[in-house]
């Protein structure tokens, strides 16, 4: 069986800089990512963490590549299950008055528990990110029903 690879592309009426900031600055992520924060200095080789609203670490990893407003590659793992590591790539491409944002989540370990969680999560998070950038207010994405 082929290894899982999740690819989600969305087109946003925004700029590469604003899109980058919305992904990398906690004051923005909290407003559309269910109150979560992405914390790092976003330099190649640095650590990055995904925090819940209580500042507990939910996801941790390293910054593999970082070209501001263009490309960000991270490793991604639950801090309680570091062997189940995967990789996330954000690519931001300007197109006239909008950007094309492609998020690829791949390099999952065999039997990874992360695949199911992130296939559930990415469409929600990235839909809310687009709404946030275009209207100033994210969606209540983690609600039930």
């Amino acid at each position: 069986m082929k290894k899982p690879k999740l690819v989600y592309t969305t087109f946003i009426r925004s700029t590469p800089k604003k899109t980058w900031d919305a992904i990398s600055k906690p004051e923005f992520t909290r407003r559309y990512w269910g109150g979560m924060a992405n914390v790092s200095d976003w330099k190649k080789g640095s650590k990055w963490e995904h925090h819940n609203p209580e500042n507990e670490v939910w996801i941790t990893g390293k910054v593999v590549e970082s070209i501001p407003a263009k490309r960000l590659v991270l490793t991604w793992a639950d801090p309680d299950d570091l062997k189940d590591k995967s990789r996330v790539t954000f690519e931001i491409e300007p197109m006239q008055d909008m950007v094309c944002l492609t998020v690829t989540h791949d390099r999952f370990q065999a039997g990874s528990k992360m695949v199911g969680k992130v296939s559930w999560g990415w469409p929600r998070v990235l839909s809310s990110l687009k709404t946030f950038l275009e209207t100033g207010k994210g969606l209540n994405i983690f609600c039930r029903g």
């Binding site: 929600r124 994405i141 029903g145």
Partner: protein, 160 residues
């Protein structure tokens, strides 16, 4: 999200988006020509929107882009179309695909899920619609949330 598939000898594309809107408004935008042309690259759908009715996607210059039939319809929740490309011979030769669209209320938003399937491996039609659905659905979301679709999706691409 786009994954697995080839073990089943079929090609699929699936996409899920959440939109701040209601199922009724989303259904109206999806099935009304005046809304369609703002986010479907200027194209509009023609159908009586009843089970068994013919369905066509019309290019603004009068050509038929795709055609098929309504297999299931349950407004504003579910639509299943038989779908064949009509304007690109290589894609037309693949025959009919199936497109399933589902709408569910999700808190103050709606969840829209599209599944486009062809019962053969390596389908070029599915490859083509995988390029088309993300800008179309992104633009539909912008239209419903901000009143304005994405400009690039308001005209049919030149030379195609």
């Amino acid at each position: 999200m786009n994954n697995r598939e080839d073990i089943l000898q079929k090609t699929t594309f699936s996409y899920v988006t959440y939109i701040r809107s209601t199922p009724e408004k989303l259904w109206q935008a999806l099935t009304t020509p005046g809304f369609n042309r703002q986010f479907f690259f200027g194209a509009t759908q023609e159908s009586a929107w009843k089970q068994g009715a013919a369905w066509r996607l019309m290019i603004p210059d009068g050509r038929v882009a795709d055609s098929g039939e309504i297999l299931e319809i349950d407004p504003p929740r579910r639509l299943v179309l038989k779908w064949r490309n009509e304007f690109m011979p290589e894609l037309r030769a693949e025959g009919y695909s199936r497109m399933t669209l589902k709408i569910e209320k999700h808190g103050a938003s709606v969840k829209l899920a599209i599944l486009h399937e062809m019962d053969k491996p390596g389908s070029k039609l599915i490859e083509a619609v995988s390029e088309g659905w993300p800008p179309i659905l992104s633009s539909l979301k912008s239209l419903l949330e901000t009143g304005e679709s994405l400009e690039e999706t308001r005209r049919w691409p030149e030379g195609t």
